[in-house]
């Protein structure tokens, strides 16, 4: 490494390798992702583009650096399987025997059929779940496998599955964030569907979320003297928020857009790369 060209060559090769790895290959693999039918509801395309106002809201989110405190990436540790018994079949004694042999409790013929559908095996890995399901099926029972995502983020209620590349394909600026000063927002639209809550929370976070350390975004709102009638857009009382006497608080267009963007954030749709069984799924949902 005594001479300039050698050093240059080394740097060139190392950087080319990393460039090919983390710039070129991701672009080849992910750069042209399109809408895709998801695995559970075949007719539904995912993701649906965001409404226009929400797309403007993304710009407000970017301009005000929301991503410095909020991530949009739900982490998932793994997937566990619940085996649901949907039908005890005609030979419930045999079904009970299968369950008893697998040491899943002590069942008798009639007690197996009580309270269906019920989970007979919870949080199993996919292999033992399929073995049990096959055995139950052989004994004449109807079974269903339910996929449940696991991990701290999911248990915290930030989402039902991990966030994947597909969730972002329509966003002009992708901001998955790098810090969680506050909670993850990947599914905040599901958690907080109320637009008024979102707006009041932006105006004064502590009013709806007691002791919240989030800064206020008052500059997105306008304080106006109350006229003859209240404006339809004005913030409505919620939590400890009440507009000051004789005034009303109106969201500026940026605030409305940001709230629309926040309520559009939802990434719980089951996908091939992140399968799950939605909790409200009907019993005939195909198990993957």
């Amino acid at each position: 490494m005594k001479f300039g060209p050698l050093v240059f060559l080394a740097a060139f090769l190392a950087l080319s390798a990393s460039w090919c790895g983390f710039v070129l290959t991701p672009q080849v693999q992910l750069g042209r992702l399109t809408q895709e039918t998801n695995s559970v509801v075949k007719a539904e395309l995912y993701p649906a583009g965001r409404p226009g106002l929400a797309r403007q809201g993304l710009e407000v989110y970017r301009a005000n650096g929301c991503a410095y405190c909020h991530s949009q990436q739900v982490e998932q540790k793994g997937t566990l399987v619940d085996v649901m018994l949907t039908d005890a079949g005609k030979t419930s004694v045999q079904v009970a025997k299968v369950l008893n042999d697998a040491q899943l409790g002590s069942f008798s013929g009639p007690s197996v059929g009580a309270g269906l559908p019920k989970a007979v095996l919870k949080g199993a890995d996919i292999d033992s779940a399929t073995i049990l399901a096959a055995a139950l099926k052989k004994a004449g029972a109807g079974t269903e496998l339910r996929l449940v995502s696991t991990g701290p983020d999911i248990q915290r209620g930030w989402g039902m599955r991990r966030t994947v590349a597909e969730d972002f394909i329509y966003d002009a600026t992708v901001m998955p964030g790098s810090m969680r000063v506050g909670p993850d927002l990947a599914n905040v639209g599901e958690r907080r569907p109320d637009l008024n809550w979102q707006l009041v929370h932006l105006y004064n976070p502590a009013a709806v979320n007691d002791k919240s350390p989030m800064p206020s975004y008052r500059f997105l709102f306008e304080r106006r003297k109350l006229g003859q009638a209240a404006s339809p857009d004005a913030l409505k009382p919620i939590g400890s928020f009440v507009p000051p006497e004789g005034y009303e608080i109106l969201p500026k267009p940026e605030a409305k857009a940001l709230a629309a963007y926040l309520s559009s954030l939802s990434s719980d749709t089951p996908l091939y790369e992140a399968p799950l069984t939605p909790p409200a799924a009907t019993t005939n949902a195909p198990a993957k």
Binding site: M1, A14, A17, L30, V164, A165, R180, S212
Partner: protein, 484 residues
């Protein structure tokens, strides 16, 4: 190769004072501007930090919201101080080691001018809400163009200076600087072109490229330049070459081969191979930290006190230690199991601060304290404040990094307690953040001392060299007595 022992070898060699004098224009310009940006960075960092004491502080002004103050602080620190002062120190080291005068010093100063215009425009853009939304790349398109051109102008003439070196064989510091000079325009152009051009890449590829850029900037660029400075001054103060060039070579290779793959968080919403590869590379950078530690320790051979004797030497020692700790923190926090706790918490901010401020900025500040008096040919006006600045900055770094690291680990553990509400977890970090505000304040005070010192030095220089010329020029001429 040691700069101090080769001057007498050739009869045509240029004296050290001449070399230092040839650096004067660009080094004055680069160091003064970077000292200003350093103060700006700490003022904005302090303002952003105050938001954690009072969430409604300055809430009526869009430009002063946390999400705009914070990127201004980081951009001022990284581009205003880091890259700019880094190039200044690189220039001086390259001229010194190469025993050659700087080529086109005025053009380098012009490059710095363009760079500063771009940065100023960019920072104003961020304050007005034009941030690009990508971390470390927030400067909007119209600022980036200036930054890129300014960099090219500066780097080109630094490379020409390197090319004119008398001793063809390169010292370790020179490898590191040469690689870094090429590295930045490539990553900066790639990231900005693919993210901010009229047809940017789509979807999470954007995020991957932004992470890739940040990893390359924070670990590779700052690592290469900072270590070049550390190695150079180590040789300088110990008056002997590095203990092992081979270990330095090993350090070099591990940085460029593995550092360049780091930076993608484990939870990234991308195909699993990407964070996995990044995790492996990041863990491997542990050997980089260890190899630097071993090399520095052997070179000092127990006499580390000697390394601190040069002006600014304490900063360099602190920077070296911070490098090792920051890189170990980075490698360890990539290990699966640990990463799922530290990822996306204040721990990562602590690591970033330790790497950028504790290691890089401290090292470069030390170098500035050493170089500027030599380039100016005069001593620091407030020599005692160098030591005071050191203690303020060292204490400041500790008060930022330690609380944030502990707070970050607690935060990561608390996110796993499902009974704790989101607000409670967030509030759990507040006291740690409030201690770090004190650190920001100390750092600001120290940076003001640096700025005062640099400004007064330049004013004195101007008084000494320009004032007589100016006075001569405007002096009233007495009519010559004409003798018949």
């Amino acid at each position: 190769m040691n700069a101090t022992c080769t001057t007498s070898s050739a009869s045509d060699s240029i004296s050290m004072a001449d070399i230092d004098a040839s650096c004067r224009v660009p080094v004055f310009k680069l160091f003064f501007c970077s000292a200003v940006w350093l103060v700006i960075a700490s003022v904005f960092g302090l303002l952003a930090s105050l938001k954690f004491h009072a969430p409604n502080f300055l809430a009526d002004c869009a430009s002063l919201t946390y999400g705009r103050l914070h990127p201004v602080a980081t951009n001022a620190l990284v581009y205003g101080f880091g890259v700019q002062a880094g190039l200044g120190v690189a220039l001086w080291i390259i001229a010194r080691l190469g025993q050659t005068k700087v080529s086109q010093p005025w053009l380098i100063a012009v490059g710095s001018k363009i760079w500063n215009i771009g940065l100023l425009v960019g920072v104003i853009g961020i304050l007005l809400g034009d941030s690009s939304g990508f971390e470390n790349l927030e400067i909007p398109r119209y600022g980036v163009v200036f930054l890129f051109l300014g960099y090219l102008l500066m780097a080109f003439w630094i490379l020409v200076t390197l090319h004119h070196r008398k001793e063809r064989a390169m010292a370790p510091s020179q490898w590191f600087l040469l690689a870094a000079l090429f590295w930045f325009p490539w990553i900066y152009f790639t990231a900005n072109y693919l993210l901010l051009s009229h047809v940017p890449v789509r979807g999470v590829t954007q995020a991957i490229i932004a992470w890739w850029y940040s990893g390359n900037l924070n670990l590779v660029w700052f690592g290469l330049v900072g270590l070049a400075v550390v190695f150079f001054f180590l040789e300088q103060s110990m008056k002997r070459p590095l203990h092992s060039r081979h270990t330095a070579l090993f350090t070099f290779w591990t940085i460029i081969l593995f550092g360049s793959w780091s930076g993608i968080p484990v939870s990234a919403p991308v195909p699993a191979w990407i964070p996995t590869l990044s995790m492996v590379a990041t863990v491997v950078t542990l050997v980089t930290a260890l190899s630097v530690m071993a090399n520095v320790q052997r070179t000092c051979a127990g006499g580390c006190a000697q390394a601190e004797k040069i002006t600014g030497g304490k900063f360099l020692t602190f920077g070296t230690m911070a490098f090792v700790i920051a890189w170990v923190m980075n490698a360890v926090s990539a290990v699966p199991g640990i990463s799922s706790i530290t990822n996306l918490t204040w721990f990562t901010v602590a690591q970033w601060q330790l790497n950028i401020f504790g290691f890089f900025a401290m090292t470069i500040i030390g170098a500035i304290y050493y170089i500027l008096p030599k380039a100016a040919g005069m001593d620091w006006p407030y020599a005692k404040s160098v030591k005071r600045h050191y203690w303020l900055a060292a204490l400041g770094v500790v008060l930022i990094v330690l609380p944030l690291a502990i707070g970050g680990i607690m935060e990561g553990l608390n996110w796993r307690k499902f009974m704790m509400t989101d607000v409670d977890v967030a509030r759990g970090t507040l006291n740690f953040l409030r201690i770090s505000t004190l650190g920001e304040l100390l750092i600001l005070l120290g940076n003001l001392m640096l700025l005062a010192n640099v400004t007064v030095l330049l004013v004195r220089y101007a008084k000494l060299h320009f004032l007589p010329v100016y006075k001569d020029a405007i002096a009233e001429l007495k009519p010559a007595e004409v003798k018949p």
